[in-house]
Amino acid sequence: MMPTKSQIGFSLGPPSKTGKDTVDDSRPLFSLAPVPALGTNPRPVPTATSEKGLPTPLPLSVTIEPKAPTFVKGKGSALKIRQWWEGTVTRVTEENFIATLVDKTNPAAPDEQAVFEFSSFEVPDDDKPLLKPGSVFYFVMGTQTTYSGQVISTSALEFRRLPKWTRRSLDVAQARASRLHEWLETTTNTTTKEEHSSSPEN
C-alpha cells in the first residue's frame, strides 16, 4: 500500500530546470571540521574513485554547455537593502520633485508623500528624461560596510524603464479603440431608438 502524502519523507519529482542547477558537489559539509576557507573549493570532490572522477577519453567532438550564471559576493562593499519603496512622481520643480511612496518592505505601512531635493538626491543623467509626473522609480535605503569595516547608511534612486511601443502594439491598440468606438455608437443608437419607441407619445 502506498503511504499517504504526509508520510513521504523524500520527494522524487523531476528537478526544476529554471533553478540554478543541481547540487554543487564542491561545497563543504556541515558539521565537518575544518571550516572551509572562504571563496575556495575546500573539498576537492569527486575523488578519483568516484564515478564522476573517472578519467574519460577525449571525445572527437564536444558541445560545451556554458556555465549557468552564478551569484557571488561583489568585489566592492556590499549594500544591505533594509527598506525599499516604489515611488510615483507627482510634481517636478527646479529644486526638487515630489512623489508618493509605497513601502515594499512593509506593505502594511501607509503610503507616504516625500520631497526629493536635487541637492541631496542625484538623479543619474540617463534617468533625467524619465523624471516627469507619473513616472515610477524605486528608492532603496540600506547600509554598506566600507573596507575599513565602518557601516554607513546609503540610499539610491532608480527609475523604471518601459520598452518603446512597438508598431504592432500601436496597431492592436488602434484596432481595439475602433471596435470599442463602433460598439459604443451601436449601443447608443439602439438605446436611443428603444427610448423613442417606448415613449408614451409613440
Binding site: 519529482g13 558539521s31 565537518l32 572551509p36 575546500p42 551569484f71 525599499w84 512593509n106
Partner: protein, 238 residues
C-alpha cells in the same frame, strides 16, 4: 497560489534577519535567439540606460550564446535558456521590469517554463550554531549507524508542488517551489539559501501567461524566499 505553494507564518518585515549577500534571478526556458540580446539592443529598446549598456562587460555574443554583465545585471542566453541575475544586493524590481520589457518586445518567443529565483547567504554567530543548523535539518544519529567517520550535511533540497485552487485558471498548473540550503562558501559560518518557484508554460499563450506570473508574483516570490530562510534559521538555531 501563494498560499498553495507554501504556508508561511508572516513575520514582521523589519524583524527579519538580513542576508549578508543577496541576489535574485529570473530564468525562462524555451527557444531563444541569443545574438539578439546585446547591450546595445537593450539600450535601444529603452530597457537599459545607455551608460550601463556602454560599460557592459561582454564575455561572448555569438549565434548560440550571449553572456554579459552590466552594473546591475548578469545576462546569459543560450538557444534554450534565458537567465538574468541581479548583481549581489541589487534592487530586485528593475530585474522584473527588464524581463517584462524584453518579452513585451519579443512577444512571439516560444517558452516552456519560468523560474523566479532568489539567492541569499546568511551569517551565523559561531561554528556551534552553524553546525546546529545541519544537525537540526539532518540529525546525524541514524547516519552514524550507517556511515563511518565525520558525517555532515552537504545540501538539502525540499520541493513541493502547488495545487491551484478550484476555478483558478490564470496561473499554470504544476508550479513548484524548491528550497535548497547549503553551507556557504562566501561567508564564514554562513548558510546559503536558494529558492526557485518554477512555473511550466500552459499550452496556449505560454509567454503571455508566464509574463503575467512575473508581473503578479515576482515581489511575492522574492519576499517569501526571505521569510522561508528566516523561519528555517529561527527554527534551526533555537
Amino acid at each position: 497560489l501563494k498560499e498553495e505553494i507554501i504556508s508561511i507564518i508572516v513575520a514582521p518585515a523589519m524583524a527579519r534577519r538580513l542576508p549578508e549577500i543577496n541576489g535574485a534571478g529570473i530564468v525562462l526556458t524555451g527557444s531563444f535567439n541569443p545574438a539578439i540580446f546585446q547591450p546595445a539592443w537593450f539600450a535601444r529598446q529603452n530597457l537599459l540606460p545607455q551608460t550601463e549598456a556602454d560599460t557592459a562587460d561582454v564575455k561572448a555574443i555569438v549565434h548560440q550564446f550571449c553572456d554579459f554583465e552590466t552594473g546591475r545585471f548578469h545576462i546569459q542566453v543560450t538557444n534554450e535558456r534565458f537567465a538574468v541575475l541581479t548583481k549581489a544586493d541589487a534592487n530586485p524590481a528593475p530585474l522584473r521590469d527588464l524581463v517584462l520589457g524584453t518579452f513585451y518586445i519579443l512577444e512571439h518567443t516560444p517558452v516552456s517554463a519560468l523560474g523566479l529565483n532568489r539567492h541569499m547567504h546568511f551569517s551565523l554567530p559561531s561554528m556551534d550554531v552553524w553546525n546546529q543548523v545541519g544537525h537540526k535539518l539532518a540529525p546525524k544519529e541514524p547516519w552514524k549507524e550507517i556511515m563511518k567517520g565525520h558525517i555532515g550535511l552537504r545540501a538539502l533540497i525540499i520541493q513541493n508542488e502547488s495545487a491551484p485552487p478550484e476555478g483558478e485558471t490564470a496561473l499554470p498548473k504544476g508550479a513548484t517551489l524548491t528550497v535548497k540550503l547549503e553551507p556557504s562558501t562566501q561567508i564564514k559560518y554562513g548558510v546559503y539559501f536558494d529558492t526557485n518557484e518554477n512555473y511550466p508554460a500552459p499550452a496556449t499563450d505560454g509567454l503571455k501567461s508566464l509574463m503575467e506570473v512575473v508581473r503578479e508574483r515576482w515581489e511575492g516570490a522574492y519576499d517569501d524566499a526571505h521569510q522561508i530562510a528566516d523561519r528555517i534559521l529561527a527554527w534551526t538555531t533555537q
